[in-house]
């Protein structure tokens, strides 16, 4: 299969790390949809990354849907979201907080990236940053409660850890002035623990 999109995108990265943890081989094509819309559009009508092209030519879009399909394709024992029940609900909730955090971070980043300087609206950046911090704070509490366990509890890494640590790492990288390591020390420890794993380190943002 082929994963389209640069690891600078936290959505692309959470798919890449997940594929690594599932032990699935893939080809990586770091096309940017902003620089080369047409080459992404042929696989995805939304011209968005991540886009995943399966070996049979079928394409998957939007990270939550891609991860849902990969979870089903993964070998028994390597899924990152439990199949059902309270365990699934918990992992989905924490993952949702993480992706919501990433969404808001992206809004604040794009405000500067895609417009001339005189059109940047600082209150809108601040609004989105506050929401980002709200999500990270919640995940930090989860990390504190989890102690040496993984974020959603238990001794196996889940999608909550993948997406939660990437939400933190991406905010730290893109918004150093928010000082998230000092604000959220427990989440910072989890993110460091993840960052040292091969599945994460091999797909670092470039």
């Amino acid at each position: 299969m082929k994963l389209i999109g640069g690891y600078r995108s936290p959505y692309v990265r959470r798919v890449a790390v997940s594929i690594n943890l599932m032990g699935i081989a893939y080809e990586h094509e770091p096309t940017s949809p902003f620089n080369d819309q047409d080459s992404v559009r042929q696989f995805n009508p939304l011209s968005r990354v991540p886009t995943l092209v399966l070996d049979n030519g079928e394409t998957l879009v939007e990270s939550y849907a891609i991860l849902d399909t990969l979870n089903e394709l993964a070998e028994e024992g390597r899924q990152l979201i439990p199949q059902c029940g309270p365990g699934r609900r918990r992992v989905m909730k924490l993952t949702a907080i993480a992706t919501g955090t990433i969404d808001k971070l992206i809004w604040s980043i794009y405000e500067k990236r895609f417009r001339p300087e005189d059109k940047v609206h600082e209150p809108w950046i601040a609004h989105n940053e506050a929401q980002t911090l709200g999500g990270l704070d919640y995940l930090n509490d989860c990390a504190k409660t989890a102690g040496d366990d993984w974020l959603a509890g238990g001794d196996r890494i889940s999608q909550a850890d993948v997406s939660g640590s990437i939400a933190f790492a991406q905010t730290e990288l893109a918004r150093p002035k928010l000082e998230v390591a000092e604000r959220f020390p427990y989440l910072a420890v989890l993110a460091t623990r993840c960052a040292t794993m091969g599945a994460f380190a091999s797909v670092a943002p470039s």
């Binding site: 009508p45 011209s47 089903e72 989905m92 949702a96 919501g100 808001k104 895609f114 417009r115 609206h121």
Partner: protein, 205 residues
């Protein structure tokens, strides 16, 4: 259970329509999330809607995760996302194109809503509108292929239909000048059929 958020939000509305189709009784609390942030924050640290508060006090956030949990609660006969296999993958894909379309339509709408007039950046609106139209074009092809059936070829209504119809209805309402009825006639006809049903019309924006 309680659903927080106004039906103007396509994400709130897809949860509301889904609950209707699943036959779930819910209380609706249309808190305006931008005007009364504290009231939403109590239930959701991201201060986002939809937020669903279950009867045991647990809260669910982000529509894709809310719907995943509701599907499991609804059981095999009423779930809107098939449980597994190629059918799930297909419904999931169309649903993802629909929510991606909503995302882009929202970006286009928020540009005007949350920027003072002199800071509105028109090329950014156009960029997002173009992506929304790309998603709707894909769904229109699905509607054409489906004919009188359902978007993902299922034998009853699925999440692809709920989210696909709402992606169109929202974008059409918020961006009338895009002329979507002409651009996407098959999807438009499909949406008219959905909107005529009680599950949709009882939670109109």
């Amino acid at each position: 259970m309680k659903l927080i958020g106004a039906y103007r939000s396509p994400y709130v509305r897809r949860v509301a329509v889904s609950m209707n189709l699943m036959g779930m009784v819910f209380e609706h609390d249309p808190i305006p999330v931008f005007d009364d942030q504290d009231a939403v924050r109590k239930f959701n640290p991201l201060v986002r809607v939809p937020t669903v508060v279950l009867d045991d006090g647990e809260s669910l956030v982000e529509s894709y995760a809310i719907l995943d949990t509701l599907d499991e609660m609804a059981g095999p006969d009423k779930r809107l996302m098939p449980a597994s296999g190629p059918e799930r993958r297909n419904v999931m894909k169309l649903t993802a194109v629909a929510t991606g379309t909503m995302d882009k339509a929202i970006w286009a709408v928020y540009e005007g809503r949350f920027h003072p007039k002199e800071k509105v950046h028109r090329p950014w609106i156009e960029h997002n509108e173009e992506q929304a139209c790309g998603g709707l074009g894909f769904l229109n092809d699905c509607a054409k292929a489906a004919g009188d059936g359902w978007l993902a070829g299922t034998d009853r209504i699925s999440q692809a239909d709920v989210s696909g119809a709402i992606a169109y209805a929202f974008t059409n309402m918020a961006r009338p000048k895009l002329g979507l009825a002409e651009k996407c006639p098959d999807l438009a006809a499909f949406v008219t059929r959905c909107e005529a049903t009680e599950a949709f019309s009882s939670v109109a924006p």
